[in-house]
Symmetry: D2
Subunit: 274 residues, 4 copies
């Protein structure tokens, strides 16, 4: 569940002026480039100087920066799943960065608590409903983070879909191998290297990631499938959108900021079946 | 719901010998090339000569051939959605045929009536579960049909996902434009030209296709979204997997074969909300 | 889905004055006694003279009156299920009229199309939520109709529950036998006698009624279970709340009023599975 | 989820002989009277002497006996909800013990992990399906426990219904007041007195109990609604069938047996929304 855009941009500078430390669940400080706020969110950012000081709150990418952060911009839930599915593949240089299509599936709780016709149960139950098939705002932060890893522009085609569940988000990233050749083991090693020591990332083999296995927990399950014939790969990341995709991640960031065990208050195992 | 592979291949020749006309819901006569049965289904086809005579039962592609057909191979449900989402785009030459990723979402009824742990309600409810992320058998028929249209090999990366619904299948085909330039109107025209007179294809604008709007009917809803910035397109097709994806399509084929109104017995409107 | 109370009471007299025939889906003309509108709905009825002329639109009880009706008050969905579960048992004199508890389960579409926090998908999905556990307004019409059959006052304890479905309503009426003795066959005969010729009531044995078997149709499935040890009975009626519980029943009434085949336009079979 | 009947009756005596302490999740030691096993379960009990020593594992009723127990018979999930909804009302003498109808709604996880056509997702999703409408085995333990409280025979009409959810059980007990008069406050006081100090029972006012509010926790939510006009009452108890209805309750019993804080290992709050 994302906090709506624009609710934090004016109040956050005041909170910081009072000496407070802020973990912001809105998107107002996620992007580094103030110009991007005009493009994606349609407003002139009132505190562009803070954008450089804000840390994007994905501990798997920015743990060291988080330790001294005063302002953390907690990632969007779709962005969290998309980025975590892709990071090791992008970092390894094994995939074609020109063709990345991220197909996201999400539960209804992502829409927040405000009722609307789109979340009205008779309308929302059992859907397979694409939304914001172009211009989904989380794309901006996904591209920003992947660019930092790749050292070059990365373009991401992302289409979210509302599906029949309350909790959970699954990113399926469809990518092609950079040189057409297939080295599945190299890919797995890239994931193991990047995530092997992460307390909240589980690398899943033998089955594919599915949010049903992480509901109620802060875990991200990642996995992949390589199709030899086509030189293409499906990369998966499954999260509970209200935990790793929102409040759980905020607590994880806070723990890093406070210098305490990153898992504090986050030891809930997934609740299964649910 | 697909009939399991292998159940028809031996009995169908006998039925034809008795002078019967057959609409086969199994995959046993969908592929033209007998070699493909070894690759995708793991058996040597016992009646390879019939493969050339069988007509792939998608009236939108093979209506004329169906009129005189004695043996019709009814398409798979995922294949129906995938193909119908892509045909006009492929035919128009507007898209890059090297990078096609089809992300399919399906309801539980696709698995047929045989209980298993995978369809056990506590396990199946609320999932976003990828399956057969590589080597899904419907890929063979999708590539066969698209190749016939493109006049060249077409490779398709297809990943199906079980999601929380009983009925419905949605294909989201992620593609890129052939020359990077964007002519959205040309794409819409290609769909209008191809499907404008089809009794069971509805072109949807203003919202995206969602199987929830076709449940209980034989309709396919198609639509698309063009992202100018990336030169990429999302193509959608939504069906009821038990109607246009199975029995409804079989009836439609039968009607064509019998020379009667193609819509006979298929006039059910979608049931909404459900 | 019930039309809200009060929307028809003022306009209906005008429609009738213009010579129109009305099938009203609101509760405004269901009750015969104007005093009851003060008690249950909190308003003084503006057209009490019309209450005597209005026919309660349950063809199974009022078919003859419907033939000449100018104003039909279409029953509430919970009331339809409750009444149809009980009528033959009450009529037969076999059950204790002092202790009738009707436990109703309903899908989310019963709440109509207006979004609210109660129908917001994350809140509404998977509930087993009692509501209006006392004073549910449909009780007034249930008691009115049963009184007419019994020839004496009948009191009904009715508790509706929202459960996890879009469509469907099931009434489980818990009753005790009048003299403690058990004659199961007499009960079945009462149901067969009352409903044997009804085009839209199916008597179900071998399984219990479940709305899942009637979704999309105008059928009511009724059944019962007798517990010898306790001299108690469970009486069931399952409907599609949007068909027999609302629009389907209105069409059925209209057909009777028009003197045409009662099944006209209602020949949809249930959609299964859904 | 109940462990199937008969799996423990032979092995448990051996475990006890080895000096082990047993919390049995099967029904094999829940009933005190060996004759009842013939009636309800169809077998001759092989260790009738143990039935008197076994403690029915509902801490709210048998906490003191549990402290020294060697063999605990963990209650069934439907029985837990039914009993906890009724205990204070029965104990208070305020209700008519001749007419008690318990209508239970349960999620699919109650059926255990073995797939069957009844739990096959396309068949199980969205149901409102009565089952074992007469002779449900949990009735035996419900009547046994209520009899001990009332000091006389109590007969319970219980009908369980499968509804659309994975987790949760709600008992709605429909009862009438003993003398027809209504003293709602006396009823609430009876519940407050009985459950006020219980660590896992929450008395709910302002809304009705709904398992959606306890999923993932060991809590039982109880509440009630009094209808003045009829002198009747609806009593509710909502549990997570896999926690208070199974494993959670077993842990609670174990804690009591071990003399440690009863809440140990059970501090999970409910997971909402889910």
């Amino acid at each position: 569940m994302s906090t709506p855009a624009g609710v934090s941009k004016d109040i956050t500078p005041k909170l910081l002026d009072h000496g407070l430390t802020v973990v912001d669940l809105s998107p107002d400080f996620r992007l580094k480039d103030p110009e991007q706020y005009k493009i994606w969110y349609g407003f002139e950012h009132p505190a562009p100087d803070l954008l450089g000081k804000a840390v994007y709150g994905l501990p798997e990418l920015h743990r060291e920066e988080l330790r001294n952060a005063k302002l953390v911009a907690n990632p969007g839930c779709n962005a969290t799943a998309a980025i975590l599915s892709l990071v090791p593949a992008v970092e390894s240089g094994l995939i074609d960065l020109e063709h990345i299509a991220v197909d996201v599936k999400v539960g209804s709780s992502e829409a927040g608590m405000k009722p609307s016709i789109g979340t009205h149960h008779p309308e929302r139950a059992n859907v397979m409903r694409p939304y914001e098939a172009t211009g989904h705002r989380h794309v901006a932060e996904v591209e920003q983070e992947l660019k930092a890893i790749a050292g070059r522009e990365v373009r991401v085609a992302l289409v979210p879909h509302a599906v029949g569940a309350v909790r959970g988000a699954l990113a399926t990233s469809h990518v092609w191998l950079a040189d057409g050749s297939v080295d599945e083991m190299a890919l797995w090693k890239a994931y193991a290297k990047r995530y092997g020591n992460e307390p909240f990332v589980r690398i899943v083999r033998g089955r594919y990631p599915d949010p049903k296995y992480v509901v109620g927990s802060n875990f991200t399950d990642v996995g992949l499938a390589v199709e030899q014939r086509l030189g293409r790969v499906a990369l998966f990341a499954a999260i509970d959108n209200l935990m790793k995709g929102a409040a759980g991640q905020a607590v994880q960031c806070m723990n890093v900021m406070l210098g305490i065990d990153e898992r504090t208050g986050l030891s809930y195992p997934p609740l299964r079946p649910v």
